[in-house]
Amino acid sequence: MYDMKALYEAESVADAIRLRLEHPEAQIIAGGSDVLVQMREGKRAGRELISIYGIDAMRGVSLDEEENLRIGSLTSFSHITRDPLIRRYCNVLGEAVDQVGSPQIRNIGTIGGNTCNGVTSADSASTLHAYEAIVELTGSRGVRRVPIHDFYIKAGVVDIRPDEIQTAILIPKASYENTFGHYIKYGMRNAMEIATLGCSVNVRLSADRQIIERCRIAYGVAGPVPMRCPGAEAAANGQRPTQELAERFARAIIDDINPRDSWRASKAFRQHIAVEMARRALTRAVELAGGELA
């Protein structure tokens, strides 16, 4: 039995916004795979909940009029993985969220919840950062679009205003076009796992596949929030894809990331695997783009 004070079920986005304004202390709940766990632990015990889970308009993947990929915030991980548009334009995101927890969690958990939770280990987060995703927030004064980098304020805190709910995540066409990515999750076991480190790399190669036109890399758990590695990206952009480049690129991430020591893993260990993961993820991304490391 969960210790909740009240549960309000929103019927539409407008209804959800109204409920938020009426119950400013209430916690938003979507799939519940994070919120109910916290509630059971006593952290959010006795709180009011606003469930947005029934708002079907917030579910599903589509292309908008500018051909940006639009992922409704309530879309479950398993739907994202199987979605034809995701597979075609941003397959790496589907692969990343297919590594969340277990089949049951992937069926109930949503990408909106994964990002709004604000944790650095979220399996979607590094790929969304590496693709410079845009977070769509709908509030009483309309729609606001925030780059995902700015959406994450600090550990566990994201930029949602008291009258807002997150309604979609967008991946701009310019971001996914001709771009191929690979995600590596490092865990201590192969299922039911939270990332020790997550690394997502994507590349766009020149038409002759001899030059990396654009390389982006982002990590989860390499700092308090998911982060890009500008130094490493700069080292790879405009370069020929070679083994030597991959080494240089991977080595460069050390200056970009800031993992911490915790009982879950030491800083030295996280740094070590971060470098190896960068090298492997870049290599694979180049292969997926039809190139090959010389």
Partner: protein, 770 residues
């Protein structure tokens, strides 16, 4: 024999698959009150006060009870048979709730409430004031003079120290030319992680107490509850329904005494106490972490001149099963690789950590890890293949242990090893993988173990059962050995069908639920004893029942008892095989006979004064990604000689489960504690890395079926043995792959990172720059 030795479908398969099996929670009355425990959030302290006022004000809270309210009756909890010799009785160091808090998670108070939410709110509202005491987490530090003391009666926190001596170690090591192979081996604190958490509910009926509990040992729990509450043993009735596993955690009285006492504090109303997973990890029982120091003195020809072992067993806060585990582990060394000069010592030591108790393998997975690390290193030191080294030194055929009376009748070890090596293609792979030099390296490794069956002669071994002939010729069977998921009821059905002479194991109705008021007294599920010990009493009771049946048949058929037999559910004449009547016909005739009505039933107790060696080995194959500090287990096989198999499919299932446990023990599982506070860090199923389906390759279970001469059914231990040798086999495979000998488990990526760095296999230049 044709009823045993067959892979029959489990008798409980249909109910379990349909979800209609009743576990303790399915039986709780809707109006039961909830008991929730306030656990200490400090590793060592005295409770100064508990402010209950806020908790009592929570709507729905019925009663708050604290460590200042409980009776001052120390009681033991271990699921051991009671000993009539006070010197061998378990240490009584428990109270229902504790003013002297000895670990983070100890029980301080309870809240009894109308519903779960109110109970949890009540617990959160309790204010406990502590007087902090210094604490100690390391087993050897706890033995030092001046270390924080947990129990007044045990100076230096040493619960017990035992030794065994063979030959003259000090003289033997002076032999010239010996090679010394020495190591320290650390095994971790792990938890059983059975599917169903422990829980129970209790109420009063008249002056008596009834407790329904998820336990492996109903008859022993009856005694403990009575002791803890200071009541006559007959005042307590324990009912054990189906349970979702135990692995030894439920071979202890856990919260049954507290739950029963809570009922007495609310006028005998029914109260329920259900452990959460987090409580199960920290406040039930764990496996003893044992640190070993082993010194082996080798001759250049690969024989062992002398050996010394020291075991430091981390008991945690309370005695529970105590020194039995370390003692059992210590006892394995002289018999595993017999050598004429040995010194073995074992200490069991209190620390401010969760209480260690029984867990599948009972000291053997620990001892096997240390022994098989050291023996592997001996093989390398002697320049011998580890397989050949073991063949040369392992317990020989004919080896006899005077204490247990066990004899290695066959050459079981070498037979098991040969079978395992053949399955994994040991020799070829060993050669091929030795050539690996890149980032990915492969290796195969092996490890062996032996295991006693049941607890004779250390403790009493007894088994009782009752068989009643039903009017349709089927037999209802009750015994004190419990079904805990392992398939005992199915094995018993097959054995009873065999011993009585029924047509099918389906003609045996096992009463799976033990009720101490009704079920013949038995000791429960532990020590891999059930099939072996029940075998004696099943055969004995079946003889009694057969005698009664044939006596009655004599009245009807006029055939001499000696001329008749019971075969496939019929009474037959032996000479010509003529079917005289069916058991159903006989049962009806006997029950409804107007002048001599008889309900045909038999009951008996058998005192087992035998033991039996069980043997086995694991071969494992790994692939190591050095840069990623990751091990992938590619292939694993366990081979067991547990005598004749009663049910080969169930035997294989036992082995699969044990192998899974061994994989987690070898690679991922460990309960961690904050060194600064003693707080458990990862007592949940996310952070405690129980291995999953996705971490396992195919699990191959194979058997060598050497019939055990002392058993009526030729059977011996299999419950615990599968958990014993997997972890060191994986360690030895990693050693072959990488050349790095890792003397601790689990071998996690963190451990590999440190070890590979030390060995120069990985090199992070930026760490030097920084």
């Amino acid at each position: 024999m044709n009823k045993v030795g067959r892979s029959e479908i489990r008798v409980d398969a249909f109910d379990k698959a349909c979800g209609r099996t009743q576990y303790y929670e399915d039986r709780i009355p809707a109006n039961a009150l909830y008991v929730r425990i306030k656990h200490a959030e400090i590793a060592h302290a005295l409770v100064r006060s508990v402010d209950t006022s806020a908790a009592e004000a929570v709507p729905g809270v019925v009663k708050v009870l604290t460590c200042f309210d409980v009776p001052d009756i120390p009681f033991p909890t271990a699921g051991h048979p009671w000993s009539m010799d006070p010197a061998h009785q378990d240490v009584a160091d428990r109270l229902l709730l504790n003013r002297h808090v000895r670990y983070w998670g100890d029980e301080v108070a309870v809240v009894i409430a109308e519903n779960e939410v109110a109970a949890n709110r009540g617990v959160r509202a309790l204010q406990v004031e502590y007087e902090p005491l210094p604490f100690v987490l390391d087993v050897q530090k706890a033995m030092e003079d001046g270390a924080p003391q947990l129990h007044e009666r045990f100076p230096n926190n040493i619960l017990k120290h035992t030794s065994s001596r063979l030959g003259d170690y000090a003289a033997a090591i002076r032999e010239p030319g010996l090679i010394k192979v020495e190591g320290w081996y650390d095994t971790p604190t792990v938890q059983h992680c059975h599917i169903e958490n422990h829980g129970c509910f209790a109420w009063q009926e008249g002056d008596r107490l009834v407790v329904v509990s998820s336990t492996q040992i109903p008859h022993i729990v009856r005694r403990v509850v009575a002791q803890a509450l200071g009541r006559p043993w007959g005042d307590v009735e324990i009912i054990k329904p189906y349970i979702g596993g135990g692995f030894g955690n439920k071979q202890d009285a856990l919260y049954e005494p507290l739950c029963a006492w809570c009922s007495t504090q609310v006028g005998g109303r029914c109260v329920r106490l259900d452990c959460s997973r987090e409580e199960t990890f920290v406040s039930n029982r764990v496996r003893h972490a044992i640190r070993f120091h082993i010194v082996t003195w080798l001759r250049p020809d690969g024989t062992i001149a002398a050996r010394k072992t020291e075991s430091y067993s981390d008991q945690g806060a309370y005695a529970s099963h105590g020194h039995s585990i370390a003692a059992k582990g210590m006892g394995s060394f002289p018999q595993h690789y017999p050598c004429p000069n040995m010194e073995c010592d074992a200490w069991t030591v209190f620390t401010n950590k969760p209480t260690a108790g029984a867990m599948r393998g009972y000291g053997m997975p620990q001892a096997s890890f240390a022994d098989e690390c050291n023996i592997e290193d001996c093989a390398w030191a002697a320049g011998m293949d580890p397989y050949e080294f073991r063949k040369k030194n392992i317990m020989p055929q004919g080896f006899h242990d005077n204490f247990s009376g066990n004899t290695n009748y066959y050459d079981s070890f070498r037979q098991c090893m040969a079978k395992g090596a053949a399955y994994i293609d040991y020799e070829r792979k060993r050669k091929e993988y030795a050539a690996d030099t890149g980032n990915i390296r492969r290796g195969v490794g092996m490890a062996t173990f032996w295991y006693n069956t049941a607890v004779y002669p250390i403790s009493l071994e007894t088994s009782s059962n009752r068989m009643s002939l039903n009017l349709d010729g089927t037999v209802t069977f009750q015994c004190g050995e419990t079904e805990i998921g392992q398939g005992a009821d199915t094995a018993f059905s097959q054995m009873v069908a065999e011993a009585v002479g029924l047509k099918s194991y389906r003609d045996v109705h096992v009463k799976s639920c033990q009720d101490t008021d009704i079920t013949p007294t038995g000791l429960g599920a532990y020590a891999s004893r059930q099939t072996y010990v029940a075998g004696f009493s099943i055969w004995q009771t079946a003889d009694l029942l057969r005698e009664k049946i044939l006596q009655y048949a004599n009245e009807i058929t006029r055939q001499a008892v000696a001329c008749m037999d019971i075969v496939d559910g019929n009474i037959i004449r032996k000479e010509d095989g003529a079917v005289l009547m069916s058991l159903g016909e006989l049962a009806m005739a006997a029950q409804y006979n107007p002048v001599h009505s008889e309900h045909l039933t038999a009951e008996s107790t058998y005192t087992i004064r035998n033991n039996a060696y069980s043997f086995g080995c694991t071969f494992a194959e790994v692939e190591v990604d050095i840069a990623m500090c990751k091990v992938t287990l590619k292939n694993i096989v366990n081979v067991h000689d547990c005598g004749r198999l009663i049910n080969p499919a169930l035997a294989a299932a036992q082995v699969h489960g044990g192998m899974s446990m061994a994989i987690g023990y070898g690679l991922s599982e460990q309960l961690l504690f904050d060194p600064k506070t003693g707080k458990p860090l990862n007592g949940n199923l996310l952070d405690y890395k129980l291995s999953t389906f996705m971490d396992h390759p195919h699990l191959e279970a194979e058997f060598v079926e050497n019939a055990e001469p002392t058993s009526p059914f030729g059977t011996k231990a299999l419950g615990e043995p599968p958990a014993c040798s997997g972890a060191p086999a994986i360690r030895n495979a990693i050693l072959q792959a990488t050349g790095v000998a890792i003397d601790r488990n689990p071998i996690t990526p963190h451990v590999l990172f440190a070890e590979f760095t030390k060995a120069g296999l990985i090199h992070d230049d930026w760490r030097e720059e920084a």
